[in-house]
Each structure stands twice: as structure tokens, then as C-alpha cells.
Amino acid sequence: MPINFDSALGIHADALRVRSQRAELLASNLANADTPNYKARDIDFQSAMKMAASGQSTGMQTSHVNHIQSSGGQFNAPAVQFRTTMQDSLDGNTVDEQVEQAQFMQNSVQYQASLNFLGARFQGLLSAIRGE
């Protein structure tokens, strides 16, 4: 019975990637906290995970060699949405530093949770290989 790493690691590898992409988006929101007309962006984690699990991309599918590749969605790039704010600011910036920082913290804890799950999977594989 061969070991398939993809099925052994399960969904956690995808989760880790989506988490790191979300961390990047939240970091750019915080870097632009004082930029006029900057709109805060975020990833809907649930739909991103659904997309990652089904292997879909946001671009159009091509079924023929002559079909033009749509540049809109690359493989596994999650759809980015704009955040709705509780209170708008005069300069058109929609970044709420408190909200963003809380989200970043939550995201990093969940990233570490995914890391722990992945580590446990690797431990399981190792003990299966060693046969102890």
C-alpha cells in the first residue's frame, strides 16, 4: 500500500497556503493604514478553501489549444474582497487598524494550528515508516 503524501497531509497544506496569503493581504492593509483612498481587502477563507479543495481557478477554463488563457485568475489564487467599514474616514481610507490587527492575530494563530496539524501528520508518517 503506497503512501500518498497528498492524501496523507489532507486539507492542511491548502489551509496553510491560504492562511499565508491572507496574512500578506492583512499586512498590506496595515502598511497602508494611512494611505488616502486605500480600500482594505481580505480573503473569504471559506470560499478560498472550497476552491483550493476542488482545485478550481477563478479564470475561464480552456478546452482547446487555441483558446486564449485568461489572465484574470491564476490557479488557486483566492478571490479578494473589499472590507465594509463601520465608519468611513474623510480621506477615503477604509482600513480600521484595530480590526486588521485582530484579524492578523487570529490568522496567525490559525496558521500555527495548521502547522501543528501538519506536524502531527508528518509524525504519523514517520512512525509508520519506522514501524516502531
Partner: protein, 137 residues
């Protein structure tokens, strides 16, 4: 790996905020500067931030921040009639800078808070990356 980009993003945020702190310091230092003509009077300087959006590598846009330039405030400078002042012009007027010390202090606090935010982000990302390196050990 997206986590590596965070260092660029947080770094750009830190450099932008430190430039803002620099202009604030220069404004506060010149809050009491006087001159003998309107053109030579020190005016409040403030940086203009803008987001860098580039979607060349990824399907989604990633944004760091850049400083487009520094603009001088167009608010009128305060003129004072003081013929005995050494900087007074022929009509006896000296011109004070239009720096508002209170709003500059608020600006300074906001800039240092944003700077701290970016440092926190970089620190957290570093921890996450280090833990990712230890995966499976």
C-alpha cells in the same frame, strides 16, 4: 511563499512612517521660525502616501506603501507687526511659519503607532516562518 512578501510590505510601511516622523520633527523644530518675506517662510510639510499595487506575480494584488512626495501646506502664514524685530521687512512685518504644533503632535503619535503596528506584523511573520521551518522535525 507569501509570508516572505510580508517583510517587504511591513518594511515599506515602516520606512513610510519614519519619513512621516521625520517631516513631523522638522515641522516641530521650525514651529517658531520667522522670516522677512512670505516666500521664505517655513510652511508645514507633509508626505503623500500611495499604495503600490502590482499583480504581476500573483492572481491577486499585493500592496506595499510608497511615499509619492512631500507637499507644503498652502495655509496662510501669520504676519506680525514688529518693527524692532531684526528680521522685520521695510514695512515692519515679520512672518511666522504656519506650523500647528498640536496637530503635529497628534500626527507624531499616529505615525509612531502605525510604525509599531508594522513592527508587530514583521515579528509575528518571522515567528510563523521559523515555526514553518521546523515542520516535521
Amino acid at each position: 511563499m507569501s509570508l516572505f512578501n510580508i517583510f517587504d510590505i511591513a518594511g515599506s510601511g515602516m520606512s513610510a512612517q519614519s519619513l512621516r516622523l521625520n517631516t513631523t520633527a522638522s515641522n516641530l523644530a521650525n514651529a517658531d521660525s520667522v522670516s522677512s518675506s512670505v516666500d521664505q517662510t517655513y510652511r508645514t510639510r507633509s508626505p503623500v502616501f500611495s499604495a503600490v499595487l502590482d499583480d504581476a506575480q500573483q492572481g491577486y494584488k499585493q500592496g506595499s506603501v510608497q511615499v509619492k512626495g512631500i507637499v507644503e501646506s498652502q495655509a496662510p502664514v501669520r504676519s506680525e507687526y514688529n518693527p524692532s524685530h531684526p528680521m522685520a521687512n521695510q514695512d515692519g512685518y515679520v512672518f511666522h511659519s504656519n506650523v500647528d504644533s498640536i496637530s503635529e503632535m497628534a500626527n507624531m503619535m499616529s505615525a509612531s503607532r502605525s510604525y509599531q503596528n508594522n513592527v508587530e506584523i514583521a515579528n509575528t511573520s518571522k515567528q510563523l516562518l521559523l515555526r514553518t521551518l521546523q515542520l516535521g522535525q
